[in-house]
Amino acid sequence: MPLLTVENLKAGYGKLQILHGVSLNISRGEILSVIGPNGSGKSTLLKSIFGLTTIFDGKISFKGEDITRKKPHEKARMGIAYLPQTDNLFTKLKVKENMLLAGYTLSESEYQERLKEALEFLPQVKEFWERKVWTLSGGERQMVSIAMAVLRKPELYMLDEPTAALAPKIARTILEKIVQLRDTFGAAIILVEQNAKAALKISDNALLLVAGKSVFQGSSSELLRDKELAQMYLGVK
Amino acid sequence: MIDILRIIVDFTAFYSIYLMLSVSLNLEYGYTGIPNFGKVMFFAGGAFTVGAIAGRMLAPLAGIDLSKLDYCMKNVYVGSLVSRYLAQHAGLALAVFIALVIAGSLVGAFLGWLASYPSIRLREDYLGMTLVVSGELLRIVSLNYDPLICGTFGAKTPNPFSFLSGFAMDVTRSAFMFTIAMLTWLIVGRLVKSPFGRLLKAIRDEEEAAEALGKDVVKVRMKVLMLGSAIAGAAGALYAFYLGIVHPSDYAPLRTFIVWVMVIIGGAGNNLGAAVGALIYLFVDRTLAIAKTYMPALPFDLNYLTYVFLGIILILVLIFKPEGLIPESLEVREEIREEASQ
């Protein structure tokens, strides 16, 4: 059974409708990339699943339970980690304090255990443990936010453009880490990416969104092979 | 019979003042979203202008040599001599009256510019703080800088209507005040229905959109604040003449609070609301003034209790009916959206 199922989701902001009936499902140990042109509703899709937008119609189920109307922090507690593009860190606090907050609801022993795991997964974070987040580069910050997410041991990660504004080399490192998330923890990951090619390369399945509607849904390799779609939407020659 | 007429004449005078203050704050806050928490300062500016100038300016005409006496110690004496002189020269008296009311409004406008300059570009909380503390500073200066209005003595203002006497004088005075207040209300009323008025609301509601359209938001805010302060200054001048004396402690921050009560309860953002709010407060205020004379002695000053109630009512209105008694009409809102999107 899929971990998350979205059925015919229609959502937007206030009276403005962005998504016009999007469906998807994702299972454990799967990376699903959501790609498409600017303004097609990729970020809105993630936000809607997490409960930050207005839902007009449709159903969202997580582990068999209907979570369409649940509040964001309830979904967080159920095991969904949403990492928005901005604003996912406390920039004025130190890295170690950010991690402390990520494990806020854990007991001391649980926290130490999970922290060990998270730092094993992302050892780079130990290097800037005492530094304030605002002094870190974009890539370093991204590592911290992933570490914070890993600490919470979610079953589903929703990442909104994690490589935006990052230098190619660092972007690659981040994408590698995302693959490791799947391989090491068996997590399900929905990845919204502007860089379609890179996303398709690491993902199992893909959802191509255009103007709030799904234009393709299937395996990533299939999409890469579809010359027509690839040319129109992925900037592939 | 005369008693009731007297009350009406009294009411009219006070209403004129309250109306002007209410209109000015409504223009600033209701239409433009400026949190003027220093309203009393501009009101005082106009009043102090009259207090500082009127007596001193006219004294020589009344045959008084100011260099020979301590104006502040003897200002009551000077004031009554000047009034007696004015009684013989009605034309001059009225000219002085009008001139000083205008002067009061100019001083108000100047203070409006001065007090808001440091923070008009900043967020509204900074502006709110600036206006509050500026008012406090003016009060301290007026209490201690004797040449202004004689510090703790206060300054007597001559009576430009002394060419009449008794009831006729009261009626004429109230009539003048009410006319000025009404004119102000009508002019502002036209102003806010004009494109300028819609611009103000656009700035209040969708500041970024207005800026994108090329409007200099800061400049407009400044202009509105100066205009509002001019009106408050004129009201202050009228008040100074009406009361016959200007004393610093009369211009406490409480006055600002009361104007806010009027505007919020009446309904911010529309001129009629300003008039209604002022009317409501007038009744409360004057009824209490009369009631006080009939009530048994309380162990505390009744005014304080009034303020507590007004404060509670203001909070309740803000929570439950923030648009006030007379809400901005919906059609006006549509007009704004049109304007902002053009």
Binding site: P72, F90, L93, W134 | P35, S134, L310, G311
Partner: protein, 312 residues
């Protein structure tokens, strides 16, 4: 240049301004509204202590804990009944400010009523009193140090240090700093944001009440004393940067010292300014900060530091 007495005055005054500024900055950081009733909360502290002194013979210093609790309680009540409600209804900053003014008027007028009634019950005046006659003093060499200097300095230092430790070394304290920066993120991570706000308002009110008591040792007090304090507090908090508790400490010290030392210098010949114009000094500094560094002086330092360091 400055006599010992003036320095002592400056330190004592700065202490209470610091306490007030910390509180104002704390509550500002929760709702982004400057609390216009903050000064009056200090006066609540004064009257609590005075009432206990007159009616039960308790020394003002001994009333400090009770005043702290009462100030904190009043602060929380106003937050729950007024600011939180308006905030939840989506009230703008200006609406919150208007409400703040209303709360201020209610508190101040209630204090007036209290100050009117109490003399009839206790046959003592309840306006224009000071605590200075209850103060002790310690002589060190040639100098006589008034008790209020020692008590206020010890209290404020203790508070600043504990606050620092609380905010940086405890989990809840760290959560508070996180909430102040990004309440929605903190909430997603499981922080009880409401609790953070309640603690902030409680601390602010308690600190204000304490500073009121220190003030009453220095100048005659009455219900109007709070309003005058606002000017200094705003100046101090804005100077320090409204998003920065350490800045509030710095701002409080700067404002306190410059006012006392400044008026001392200005009141001497050749200028001979009347001490009644004291408020002009914090006012001037407030205006200067707004004109040149509205985010506070701490922000200037940050910018110089970031200059070479921040990587992209």
């Amino acid at each position: 240049m400055f006599s010992i007495e003036v320095i002592i005055d400056a330190i004592t005054f700065s202490n209470l301004i610091i306490a007030l500024a910390i509180g104002l900055t704390l509550t500002y950081m929760t709702l982004k509204v400057p609390n216009f009733a903050h000064g009056d909360t200090a006066v609540i502290g004064i009257y609590t202590a005075y009432t206990l002194t007159i009616m039960l013979g308790i020394h003002p210093y001994a009333s400090m804990p009770i005043a702290f609790l009462l100030g904190g309680a009043l602060s929380i009540i106003t937050y729950i009944l007024v600011y939180r409600v308006i905030g939840q209804k989506g009230g703008s900053i200006t609406t919150l400010m208007i409400a703040s003014i209303a709360v201020e008027v209610i508190i101040r007028s209630s204090l007036h009523i209290y100050a009117d009634i109490m003399p009839k019950i206790t046959s003592t005046f309840f306006r224009g009193f000071t605590f200075s006659k209850y103060d002790f003093s310690i002589s060190i060499g040639e100098a006589t140090l008034p008790g209020v200097l020692i008590v206020s300095t010890l209290t404020i230092t203790g508070i600043v240090v504990s606050l620092y430790l609380f905010l940086t070394r405890t989990k809840f304290g760290t959560a508070m700093r996180a909430t102040i920066e990004n309440p929605s993120l903190a909430s997603t991570l499981g922080v009880d944001v409401e609790k953070v706000y309640l603690v902030s308002w409680f601390l602010a009110g308690g600190l204000a009440a304490l500073s009121g008591i220190f003030l009453a040792f220095q100048i005659p007090s009455d219900p109007e004393s709070g309003w005058g304090l606002l000017l200094r507090v705003f100046a101090a908090s804005v100077l320090g940067g409204l998003d920065n508790i350490f800045g509030a400490v710095l701002g409080g010290a700067v404002i306190g010292f410059s006012e006392i030392l400044g008026i001392y210098l200005l009141s001497k010949p050749p200028i001979g300014l009347s001490p009644a114009y004291r408020p002009a000094i914090p006012y001037l500094m407030f205006i200067l900060v707004l004109l040149f560094a509205p985010k506070g002086i701490t922000s200037i330092n940050l910018k110089k530091l970031i200059g070479g360091e921040e990587k992209k």
